[in-house]
């Protein structure tokens, strides 16, 4: 029985064609020794039965994967009578690369120019007759999905059985051609189961499988070692020449409509514009923050706040009715609901912000943001890839810092780690929101945007300083894949958003609860002292620290204690303030204890000062150095302090 092999690129319609030809006569197994699936089927033509073997889909016939080795070994050693090479007519140049390799092997090829209907719909015109002449192989137009041209393909295939195919002899240039000849003559009396010229080309391509095979011969092994020493491995040159050959073969025969801009191209012309790209990114982020504020705070925030207030009073009344001890009632109403509850009211905000950020990511815009920021990042001595860790840092600095692992240059990585905390994480959001609610209720989105922008600006400034002082070194470069724009998948947007909300809730129930409990105990001690007063243990600690912050405009013991609680976890700042000012409503209490200027100064401090303990621990783990972890904790504190003092003192000159 004659055997026909089916070869083609992935997604060329090869399997559809296999199914169309063999119908229900297929059986599936594995190729010996590998996990690659072997599919074989049968068809009858003019009362004669033929075997059809569907080889794995590959782009090349190198040794980069098991699929490729299986495919080429079958073509070379399986002795198929004909190889049907399925080609995607809409992507002909890419597909012809495999064809050229088959022809170099000396395979008896029939080309199935598949998806021809799609190619015609895309106005791709192929002069099949002349292409067939130039390649010296029969070509049949098919559309496997519509079962068009299949009979003709079988006819041509059967007619091609017994055709003597001459291996394609591409000229790779004088130097390489000479080397091919040298190796061919070296292989003259050797007994390898492959064509000699093909082996010679594969040796010059440094094909691992072939080099290992022929190295069993000492003479050839030492010749290959010499080639390597003399840098005579021409992997790229050989591939380039094959593409040149494809271009020369298809020249004038494949006509595609020129420069038809896709929707993605049109959008990219605007969004990744050299001049407008960054301002557009800033505008998009400003809109996101504005929407976050309007929907998350103004619209949804009130419901959650009322709900938590309702539950709080319900639980408090229940405890009173049960004659629970005063201390327990105080802890539940002021400690738990005043502290943890103050954090929980910001859940809608987290939901809305991360909903919009997930949409930006899912549509493919975030990749463009990294693209447009790249030039700016490079100017400050960072590589654009660092922007990825910065974007991650907007969620949380811990994974933000961990994601710097993707930077292989130590200089880039250290800088990216040290500036990551300036990317304002989600945990700091409640702090800004409570202050914005108290002092800027009408310009919330703008203020929020400015805070985040200040964080990015400080990160870039510090990156420039670090790259000029602490870390000097060579730059590394990359290219970015810009996926086509697409409508966001609500499934993935909601999943992404839920992960963040759940993380926020978990932290509120664990770390924040713990911090608030410890602070509540400290605010009740020593026994008999008025709770939450300056005389309590917590009040005394706070009073000791408060003078440090007087130049920044928030030298109260409550503000000082909350900042230090924020080193445990940033949400604890709001939790602590909520508890310490309880039973007053927090925004009301803030208006009584801060001025507009000191509120700005406080927000700047929260944005820039020492990151949370988990972030510092991550710096230690990632840099493997306590010194850098301490440096991070101290330099950010000093920077935050200096900036907030500057804001307050300079602001005072104008107010």
């Amino acid at each position: 029985m004659h055997t026909i092999a089916l070869v083609g690129n992935p997604n060329s319609g090869k399997t559809t064609l296999f199914n169309a030809i063999t119908g229900s006569t297929q059986h599936v197994g594995n190729w010996p020794g590998v996990t690659v699936e072997k599919k074989e089927g049968f068809f009858t033509y003019n009362n004669e039965k033929y075997s059809l073997v569907d080889l794995p889909g590959t782009y090349t016939l190198g040794a980069f994967s098991e699929d490729e080795i299986v495919a080429r070994d079958f073509v070379l050693k399986g002795n198929p009578d004909v190889v049907i090479n399925v080609i995607d007519a809409t992507n002909i140049k890419r597909n012809l690369y495999l064809t050229i390799q088959l022809l170099e092997m000396g395979a008896n090829v029939v080309l199935a120019l598949n998806m021809i209907d799609e190619a015609k719909a895309k106005e791709i015109n192929i002069d099949i007759k002349r292409l067939s002449e130039r390649l010296n192989v029969p070509i049949v137009e098919t559309s496997a999905s519509k079962k068009l041209g299949v009979d003709k393909l079988l006819q041509v295939t059967v007619e091609s059985i017994g055709r003597k195919a001459k291996p394609l002899d591409i000229s790779y240039g004088k130097e390489i051609d000479e080397e091919i000849k040298n190796i061919e003559s070296l292989l003259e009396n050797k007994n390898f189961p492959y064509p000699k010229r093909w082996l010679a080309i594969k040796i010059l391509e440094n094909d691992k499988e072939i080099v290992s095979l022929v190295s069993s011969d000492n003479e050839i092994k030492s010749y290959i070692d010499n080639l390597k020493e003399e840098d005579k491995i021409y992997e790229l040159e050989l591939v380039d020449k094959r593409y040149d050959y494809i271009n020369s073969i298809t020249k004038g025969l494949v006509k595609e409509p020129e420069n038809i801009l896709t929707t993605t191209d049109k959008i990219d012309r605007v969004l990744t514009n050299y001049i407008f790209g960054i301002p557009i990114f800033a505008l998009i982020m400003a809109i996101v923050f504005q929407l976050t504020f309007k929907i998350g705070q103004d619209f949804l925030g009130g419901y959650v706040e009322s709900f938590i207030g309702f539950i709080a009073s319900l639980v408090e009344n229940l405890l009173i009715n049960l004659n629970a001890p005063d201390l327990l009632i105080s802890f539940v109403s002021e400690g738990f609901f005043g502290g943890v509850g103050a954090v929980l009211v910001f859940v809608p905000l987290i939901v809305v912000l991360y909903f919009f950020l997930a949409i930006l990511e899912d549509t493919g815009y975030m990749a463009r943001a990294a693209y447009v920021m790249d030039s700016l990042m490079r100017k400050v001595g960072l590589q654009g890839k660092s922007f990825i860790s910065m974007i991650v840092g907007f969620g949380c600095n811990v994974p933000g810092i961990m994601s710097t692992r993707t930077l292989d240059n130590k200089k880039d990585r250290m800088i990216a780690i040290l500036i990551n905390p300036f990317m304002s994480c989600g945990a700091r959001l409640p702090v800004y929101m409570v202050f914005i609610g108290a002092f800027f209720p009408n310009n919330g989105g703008l203020v929020l945007f400015l805070i985040y922008a200040l964080g990015i600006a400080m990160a870039l400034i510090m990156a420039k300083i670090f790259s000029k002082t602490l870390f000097k070194g060579e730059e590394t470069h990359f290219i970015m894949e810009l996926p086509p724009y697409r409508l966001p998948s609500m499934n993935s947007v909601f999943r992404d958003m839920w992960e963040k909300v759940w993380g926020f809730l978990k932290r509120a129930g664990t770390v924040i609860f713990l911090v608030v409990t410890v602070l509540w105990v400290l605010s009740m001690l020593p026994a008999g002292v008025e709770p939450y007063s300056k005389e309590s243990l917590l009040g005394r600690i706070g009073s000791l620290l408060a003078p440090i912050f007087t130049p920044a405009g928030f030298g109260t013991w409550q503000a000082s204690v909350s900042l230090f609680a924020g080193i445990a976890a940033k949400e604890a700042i709001v939790g602590t303030l909520g508890m310490l000012y309880s039973p007053l409503e927090l925004t009301e209490a803030l208006r009584m204890n801060f001025t507009t200027l000191s509120a700005i100064s406080y927000m700047v401090m929260v944005l820039l000062y020492t990151p949370c303990a988990a972030t510092i621990a991550t710096v230690k783990r990632e840099t493997n150095s306590t010194k850098w972890a301490l440096f991070m904790a101290i330099y950010t504190f000093l920077l935050g302090y200096i900036m907030s003092v500057l804001v307050y003192q300079v602001g005072n000159l104008f107010i």
């Binding site: 811990v398 990359f478 963040k500």
Partner: protein, 86 residues
């Protein structure tokens, strides 16, 4: 052209296949084809592929693993060595 593409990436004057296509004055599809070839041959390697916090980061309040919409490729050691030899 593969050599030229590697050189452009090494020099840092391009950020995407579109940029490369503009610099070399060729079709972007052709550049994508060659970039895929370079990836397959191991001259370019995908970044960020190895990192995943898998939601297990201690103290991470908003398990925000690296965005998978941003995929970058850099010259591998094989690619760098090749360029340095030129």
């Amino acid at each position: 052209m593969l050599k030229e593409i590697l050189k452009l990436i090494f020099e840092g004057s391009v950020k995407s296949s579109k940029d490369i296509a503009e610099k070399l004055n060729v079709d972007e599809n052709e550049v994508n084809l060659l970039i895929n070839q370079l990836k397959q041959m191991g001259y370019l390697e995908k970044d960020a592929g190895e990192f995943s916090c898998g939601g297990k980061c201690f103290g991470c309040n908003l398990a925000n693993c690296p965005t998978n919409s941003i995929i970058t490729f850099s010259l591998s050691d094989k690619g760098k060595n090749y360029i340095k030899k030129l």
